[in-house]
């Protein structure tokens, strides 16, 4: 089966990007409550141009996670983010499914 069809190669992709000289950050779901879309341990690798692979939700919070992960490339420090239920009428970032999750974002240090 070709690598392109294997969706579980987030870390391999992160290592490859870094070997190419790109800056890379990682996001990992570390805790969930209620009906969270992706289980604990789910990961996202983010390249310095905001290209990303993997998932930490069903697509609800990836946009914000990518932004916050890119910020850790500047600060050099990991952060823990928390996302809860979103109000669909407001344009805030959150989970429509009613779950709550904590996500760790961190830079990969060369």
């Amino acid at each position: 089966m070709s690598e392109a069809l294997n969706h579980d190669n987030v870390l391999e992709e992160a290592a490859r990007w870094q070997a190419e000289g790109r800056k890379v950050a990682l996001a990992t779901v570390i805790e969930t409550w209620g009906s969270a879309p992706r289980p604990v341990g789910s990961q996202l690798a983010i390249r310095d141009d905001a290209t990303f692979i993997g998932s930490v939700s069903g697509g609800c919070i990836e946009g914000d996670v990518v932004t916050r992960a890119l910020e850790t490339l500047e600060s050099g420090k990991p952060e823990i983010l928390e996302y809860g239920v979103s109000d669909a009428m407001a344009w805030e970032v959150g989970l429509a499914c009613g779950g709550r999750i904590r996500v760790m974002v961190e830079p990969v240090k060369a």
């Binding site: 089966m1 070709s2 069809l5 294997n6 579980d8 870390l11 391999e12 992160a14 290592a15 870094q18 990682l26 990992t28 779901v29 570390i30 805790e31 289980p39 604990v40 341990g41 420090k77 990991p78 823990i80 760790m104 961190e106 830079p107 990969v108 240090k109 060369a110």
Partner: protein, 225 residues
């Protein structure tokens, strides 16, 4: 994460070594912990063994604060006995679901590269093949040949192993005859009851691909429920 930890983790995954990425949440300190590491602290080894066994990451309370433990197990394995038509879509679907698939069939006209591209093929007899493959608790086994000469030795090995799923293709009638043979071979009722037969969830599957979906669905149900 330090680049050398990322590189080691990628190496561990390529070499199919179980490991846990441990992160101390108070300061972000990270290390890879292996369940067999004799140098590591006892509480951490116990927690690491637990998250690997459950295959679920979690936060644990250590003596120096909270740690997040993320397990990286080697892939689940699927052993298919019988390189028959159903094995072709099943090998592909299981591979998509993240399984390392091995197809066992001594009939080389069935177990050919052309029929199973990119699949690990073993053309020995099922008893020898199963001994070499040594199924563990992260292995599923499905027999597909309909031929007792090939299926039965594989089922004997499967029932003596801790495999999390054992399935056998065949009608109710075929399965009843199979149960009788296994009982005669000395297997108890509880052991024989581990076999999912007729194999797969009852979704009215007709084509080989549909039957493969029903089998993969049942393996997933057994794993996750």
């Amino acid at each position: 994460m330090d680049a050398h930890i990322l590189q080691q983790l990628v190496r561990d995954r390529a070499e199919k070594r179980a490991t846990v990425l441990a992160t101390r949440l108070t300061d972000g300190m990270q290390k890879l912990v292996y369940p067999t590491d004799k140098q590591e602290e006892k509480w951490l080894i116990e927690a690491v063994s637990q998250v690997l066994a459950s295959d679920r990451g979690r936060i644990v309370e250590g003596p120096d604060g909270e740690w997040f433990l993320n397990p990286f197990n080697p892939p689940l394995r699927l052993i298919l006995v019988g390189a028959v038509h159903i094995a072709q879509p099943l090998a592909r679907i299981a591979s998509l679901a993240g399984y390392d698939v091995t197809v066992v069939d001594p009939r080389t006209s069935f177990a050919s590269e052309e029929r199973f591209p990119d699949t690990h093929l073993v053309t020995g007899w099922p008893d020898e093949a199963m001994a070499a493959l040594a199924p563990d608790a992260r292995t599923a086994i499905v027999t597909l040949t309909h031929d007792p000469k090939l299926d039965d030795p594989a089922l004997h090995a499967a029932l003596r192993s801790p495999a999390f799923y054992v399935g056998a293709l065949g009608s109710k009638k075929t399965h009843a005859a199979r149960i009788a043979r296994l009982a005669q071979a000395g297997f108890g009722e509880d052991e024989i009851a581990r076999i999912n037969g007729p194999v797969g969830l009852s979704i009215g599957a007709k084509s080989p691909a549909e039957i493969a979906i029903s089998i993969m669905a049942q393996i997933t149900e057994t794993l996750r429920k």
